[in-house]
Symmetry: C2
Subunit: 184 residues, 2 copies
C-alpha cells in the first residue's frame, strides 16, 4: 500500500483512544503535521497528570487508571483519586506523538525539529515497513503516593508535588507551541 493511501485510511478512521478525540492542546500541531504531504500522525497525547494503581506484578496491562487529566489539577482531585489497596503512583508526562514519515529524510528532519523544540528523547522507533518517529521529552515526574491503602506523602508534600506537576504541564505547553512554530 502506498504512503498516501495509508495516510488517508489512518486519518479517516474513528479515533480509538479512550478519550475518542485529539487533546485540545496538541490539535493545532497535529493538524499542521497532517497537512504536510510527507507526514501523518498515528497517536498523540498533549501531556497529562495521572494517578495509577500499580499491581505487585508491575505488569502494564494490570495497572488501573485512577485519574487522568490533560490540564492542571487541584490537590483535592489527587487526594480523592488515591483509593486503592495496591501501590498508587503519580505521574506527570509531557507530550507524546507518533508520526509516520514518507522517507527517512523526512523522518530525520522531524527528529531534529522536535529535539530543537525541547523534545530531547525523540527518535525513530521503526524503519522497517514504515518510518515512525516518536516525539517525546525527557522531563517528567514519577513517584509513589500510597502503599497498601496508606497514603505515604503528607498534605504539604502532596501540595508541592501537584504544584510541580502543574508547572511542568505549563512548560510542556510552551514546548508544544515552540514545536508548532518551528514546524510551520
Amino acid at each position: 500500500m502506498t504512503f498516501e493511501l495509508d495516510k488517508k485510511n489512518i486519518l479517516g478512521k474513528t479515533d480509538k483512544s479512550q478519550k475518542g478525540e485529539i487533546d485540545e492542546d496538541v490539535l493545532e500541531l497535529v493538524e499542521l503535521i497532517n497537512s504536510k504531504e510527507e507526514y501523518y500522525t498515528t497517536s498523540s497525547c498533549s501531556g497529562r497528570i495521572v494517578v495509577i494503581e500499580m499491581p505487585e506484578s508491575g505488569r502494564k496491562d494490570e495497572t488501573k487508571w485512577l485519574l487522568v487529566k490533560h490540564r492542571p489539577v487541584s490537590l483535592q482531585e489527587i487526594k480523592d483519586s488515591i483509593k486503592s489497596e495496591e501501590d498508587v503512583w503519580l505521574k506527570q508526562e509531557g507530550m507524546i506523538l507518533h508520526v509516520c514519515c514518507k522517507s527517512i529524510e523526512a523522518a530525520e528532519k522531524l527528529v531534529n525539529l522536535a529535539k530543537n523544540s525541547g523534545f530531547k528523547r525523540t527518535g525513530m522507533v521503526s524503519v522497517n515497513k514504515r518510518y515512525v518517529v516518536e516525539v517525546v521529552s525527557t522531563e517528567n515526574i514519577s513517584t509513589i503516593l500510597s502503599k497498601k491503602g496508606k497514603i505515604l506523602a503528607d498534605d504539604e508534600y502532596l501540595s508541592e508535588l501537584f504544584s510541580e506537576c502543574n508547572k511542568k504541564l505549563k512548560q510542556n505547553k510552551k514546548k508544544i507551541s515552540q514545536f508548532t512554530c518551528n514546524f510551520s
Copy 2:
C-alpha cells in the same frame, strides 16, 4: 571515514565520562556489543540514583549533582546529600546506551532486541551521518525532595522512596541481563 576506522578511533579513546570508566553492571553488555562487527558503543550508563540541585532557570547546564550512585543507596546517603538552597530533586534512571550501527538494518535489529528486552523507549536518534540507536527504558522515578533549603518529604516518605529506587535499580539490572542474553 569508514565505520571500521571510526569504531577503532572511538573505542581507542580515553573515557571522557565523569567516572572515567564503564559501569560494572553494563560492562559485559558493552563488550558484547563492541565485539560485533556492525556495532560500537559511544556512551553507556548502567542506571543510577541521583540527587540534583535544579536552578530556578531549569537549565540543564546549571544543575549541580549532589549524589550519583550506580548501586542501591541508603536513606542516610540521600538525606546527607540534600544540602542546598535551591530545589533538590531525586531521580532514578535505568540503563542508557548509545550505539553506532553500520547499517540501518543493523540499527533496526538492535532497536527490536532492546524493546523486546524491556527497553521500550529505544529509538534511532540519528540517521544522517551515522546510524545511532539510543537504548532507554520508560520506567523511572523523578520527584522533588526539598525547596529553598527545606526538606519537603518526611523520613517515612523518603524511606519508601529510596526503597522504590533500589527496587527499580534491581529490575533494571534484570533487564540488562535479559538484553545481554537476547543479544548473544
